[in-house]
Amino acid sequence: MFKTFIAGILLGIAGVAAALHTFPAVDQHRETSIISVKPNGGNSEKFHVSVPMDRIMLGASATERSVPAGMDWPQDPAFADLNVELFKLRDARDTVVGVASRIAARDAAAGSAIEWVLHLPARGSVYVTVEPESLEGGVRRGSLRHGTREFGALSGSMTERWISAADTGEGQGRIELETAFLGAAEPDE
């Protein structure tokens, strides 16, 4: 009987080890990516946020319409020309796939900056710096500065376009983001 008990202990230890090895402790939900392949071998993907529905936060000293209500935004003059927004990020199927931050700052010493971080929990994050000047059609163009995980080895660009919902009032519409990323070239064999 003692031998059976010892065998049970070994079985218990092995069972726990096998279970921890086999079953993932974390299983992130994945939406199927909607990616189109470009002629240069890169890929393009579209995301958008609906404003104000997807806006989690709007922090700026200059506006009295801060979101969410009750937020205590720093009133330090150093942050006077800073605009920070947080959004839920949707794919082309209008499904939420991540969260995003947008920082827009005018700074005498550091210059103007518009930036996005797109955080897709199942895939990774991208950090895009955008040219402050908009092009024709209200499009701003930016470049991928840094990526993590699936985006870690990529380079490329992203465009930002504000589409106003003219019939629903000022400040309502959607921001369309289109990424065009390219992987590092594989060395010749």
Partner: protein, 233 residues
């Protein structure tokens, strides 16, 4: 029958022994020394509170510990983001004055391997420093030691609280020395790449509300071309 009972008790004891070994494994002690503490390059330090109620905004799926702040903030309940928390924090330098605003995205990581003492978080900081510029910090964090030293004892205690002092570097990559990656975006940080360590200090934790007294620190090892401002050192 008695053999079957003996086997069942043995399996139970074995399972408890396996979990006990995971929690008490002396080989999984946290690193006492940050790889950046022995460097001689200029460093920049930013401090912040990790108590959700102290944040400008903190949101999660509404079910995990740490109530969303302020109360009317949108919660991250959609399937793709329900294992993610977002915190917007005022960050200070050594003098305690607000020097930056940082947004932290933190998601449970599928690279978690409890057998290897890894409870991983994929996180990204997006930070703005007035008169200096913007940058991000992308990293993997290992919260295993925090879980076994602070969270589990709090949950198992009769008062459902933990008090003490826990300090640890949570950064666990992607840098080869376990450092996170800094990527500068604008201002004096434009184009810069550097190593970062994030460390946490916990003094009190509640099983009901999460962190009660918890601070964080980002330590950035800047290239010698950038001077760290004296008040954030």
């Amino acid at each position: 029958m008695k053999y079957l009972l003996s086997l069942a008790v043995g399996i139970l004891v074995g399972a408890v022994m396996a979990f006990a070994f995971l929690l008490l494994n002396p080989l999984a002690e946290p690193r006492a020394l940050s790889p950046l503490e022995v460097g001689d390059q200029p460093q920049m330090m930013l401090n912040y509170s990790l108590v959700p109620a102290d944040a400008i905004v903190h949101t999660n799926n509404g079910e995990t510990r740490g109530d969303p702040t302020p109360g009317k903030v949108q919660q991250l309940w959609e399937p793709a983001i329900r294992n993610t928390a977002v915190t917007v924090a005022a960050m200070s330098g050594a003098t305690g004055e607000t020097r930056a605003i940082g947004i932290k995205f933190a998601s449970l990581s599928e690279s978690t391997r409890l057998l290897r003492n890894e409870a991983m978080i994929d996180s990204v900081w997006h930070i703005y420093m007035p008169e200096r510029g913007t940058f991000v910090v992308g990293q993997r964090e290992n919260r295993f030691d925090y879980l076994r030293t602070v969270v589990l004892p709090a949950m198992w205690s009769s008062g459902k609280r933990w008090r003490g002092l826990w300090r640890g570097n949570v950064s666990a990559g992607p840098g080869s020395l376990g450092t996170g990656r800094f990527a500068g975006g604008s201002g004096e940080f434009a184009g810069l790449d550097a190593d970062v360590i994030e460390s946490h200090t916990v003094r009190a934790w509640s099983a009901e509300s999460g962190p009660v007294a918890k601070e964080g620190m980002l330590l950035v090892e800047l290239p010698e071309t950038v001077e760290a401002a004296a008040d954030v050192l």
